[in-house]
């Protein structure tokens, strides 16, 4: 137990000012008041009349006070067992692994003040920003995994139909290629998170751990998907549904789903660790297109009149890549902003359980990326191919990511 703390007085017991300050807490105040009242009652024994009632009321208040204080002191003990306070943790004399839990549990005023510093907003914004993207990616991966499973089981069951096998294989290949792109994207997001964490220096330590975790998982995911792709290619070239290949595929997809689950866990950790920091998020700053544009203008050395090359129309931040807008704020710091317009749109990825006629899909405004394979047998009806849809008005970058 720390000598500077006391269950009743909280902080230092030496200064009377501290004790007086403790009276602001009504529970402790009640206890002291009850004690005083009891003393008055005892004194009242000497005097006539109301001494009994004074004594009774004093006892009552004291009992209530004791109950109230029991609650407080249990809380106090809890705080004592915790590391003293966040700023001393942030001095980084401790190993980084101890940090993430303590940062948000007792976020003290000193830390909140330091949150005003420019770098810290980076962490908060990035957390808010990367989280939805990671979440959508993982959800999407899990959906793909489901499609993959059904496709593999169809492959294993319908050995007699050569055409079906071919179609299934192609479909598995497609799904795996999407997963591959997805894992590459995850890696890049995690790398960007690591950059942000490093830029935020000590504030980013907890965040950096999670970012690293996500990155490691993404790397493993990529390896697994690559090996699954290899076995699919082998299956396509060998020309028949070998048991071995199916088992290999099953093993790879199992590890893929396991990794996706791990990723999900890491992302929820990200939520826990940074939620308190995110509370004090700065107001959204939208990118000022002028500054980078000035750079570009000067790059166009042959332009005769740079003044005439002003941006036409409002510059709307598009949901490209990390969907993060990095701008320089007037205070001189770097602020990463985010807003509803820069957040990635949720992937509209449907595994159509009922068959979608290809004519109706192409007739609608949605773009179909993975078209359903040719209908071949009764079983394939259950496991209709994934129909990846792009919502209208999506950015070219996203479209590139979707296409395969």
């Amino acid at each position: 137990v720390s000598p500077s703390r006391h269950p009743l007085f909280g902080e230092a017991t030496t200064t009377s000012a501290r004790i007086v300050a403790q009276f602001r807490d009504w529970k402790k105040g009640l206890l002291w008041f009850g004690g005083a009242w009891l003393l008055a009652g005892l004194y009242g024994l000497v005097l006539p009349v109301t001494s009994f009632w004074l004594l009774a009321l004093g006892l009552l208040l004291l009992v209530i006070g004791v109950f109230a204080i029991a609650d407080v002191s249990s809380g106090a003990i809890e705080t004592l067992t915790r590391p003293p306070s966040a700023p001393s943790n942030l001095d980084a004399t401790q190993p980084a692994k101890a940090l993430p839990r303590t940062i948000d549990q007792n976020i003290p005023e000193a830390h909140l003040e330091r949150l005003q510093e420019p770098n810290v907003t980076t962490v908060t914004a990035v957390t808010c920003d990367i989280r939805p993207e990671l979440n959508t990616l993982v959800q999407r991966g899990l959906t793909l995994k489901g499609t993959l499973d059904t496709a593999i089981s169809t492959l294993a069951n319908d050995k007699e139909r050569k055409v079906a096998i071919q179609a299934e294989r192609e479909r598995i290949g497609k799904v795996l290629r999407v997963l591959e792109q997805m894992s590459r994207r995850l890696e890049m997001v995690a790398l960007n998170a690591a950059i942000e964490a490093a830029r935020a220096k000590e504030y980013g330590l907890g965040f950096a751990i999670v970012a690293n975790e996500v990155r490691t998982i993404a790397e493993k995911l990529r390896e697994n998907v690559a090996s699954a792709l290899k076995s699919v290619e082998l299956a396509v070239s060998s020309g028949d549904a070998d048991e071995r290949i199916v088992t290999a595929l099953r093993a790879s997809t199992e590890s893929v789903s396991e990794l996706l689950r791990q990723m999900d866990a890491s992302i929820s950790k990200l939520n826990e660790n940074d939620v308190s920091v995110a509370k004090t998020d700065s107001p959204h700053v939208y990118p000022n297109p002028k500054e980078p544009l000035r750079v570009a203008k000067s790059a166009l050395i042959s332009t005769p009149k740079p003044a005439s090359r002003k941006p036409t129309g409002p510059q709307v931040p598009s949901p490209v890549g990390l969907s993060r807008a990095v701008v320089r704020n007037p205070a001189g710091g770097v602020t990463v902003s985010l807003g509803p317009s820069v957040l990635p749109k949720p992937f509209a990825f449907d595994v159509a359980k009922t068959r979608v006629p290809s004519s109706s899909v192409s007739a609608s405004k949605t773009k179909v990326c993975a078209t359903a394979p040719v209908e071949t047998n009764e079983k394939a009806e259950k496991t209709e191919a994934p129909v990846t849809r792009l919502e209208g008005g999506r950015d070219a970058e996203d479209a590139k990511f979707e296409r395969f």
Binding site: A92, L191, V295, S318, V320, L322, V342
Partner: protein
């Protein structure tokens, strides 16, 4: 505080077969390769401009600048967004890299000074040589490595 003060974070990336690094403090982010619009009348190592969420950034090809040929578009090719300061003005530029490797911290004591290769060969664009996971990487001084860009970036900005 000592451990953090002595540490520096680096982003390593690959150009040709070699590893290079930028200080993370000067790095903004990594983005996927987007179509680059070429700009006429530019040195070969200024590849053009890209649109990054509405902001237009010049993209430089370090591989070309190092005399290793043009950067080809591959799945791992990406653009590193870096801040450089010329004439007390900060410019944000994109740098093409064949692949991005890692973000990590190393102690600043472990950074070796750049090699001296005689007076005729300038190595001043190398800030130092770091070692991570048994691999050397050249830490680039972003101010000096883009020395030629200074003219291009600041000529009209000053007008």
């Amino acid at each position: 505080m000592s451990t953090i003060a002595n540490e520096r974070h680096f982003l390593t990336f690959r150009i040709a077969e070699e590893l290079y690094a930028f200080d993370v403090a000067k790095t903004r982010e990594i983005v996927d390769l987007t179509p680059i619009t070429p700009v006429p009348n530019m040195p070969a190592w200024i590849r053009g401009i890209v649109n990054l969420r509405g902001a237009v950034l010049p993209v430089l090809d370090l591989r070309q600048k190092f005399g290793l040929g043009r950067t080809e578009t591959k799945p791992d090719t990406c653009i590193i967004i870096v801040d450089i300061t010329f004439a007390e003005q900060t410019h944000t530029i994109g740098v093409l890299a064949d692949a991005v490797r890692d973000v990590f911290a190393i102690s600043s004591d472990s950074i070796e000074p750049p090699p001296k290769l005689g007076e005729t060969i300038s190595t001043d664009f190398i800030e130092g040589i770091g070692n991570h996971a048994d691999k050397f990487f050249l830490i680039l001084d972003e101010q000096r490595v883009f020395a030629g860009a200074e003219r291009v970036l600041t000529t009209e900005a000053g007008e």
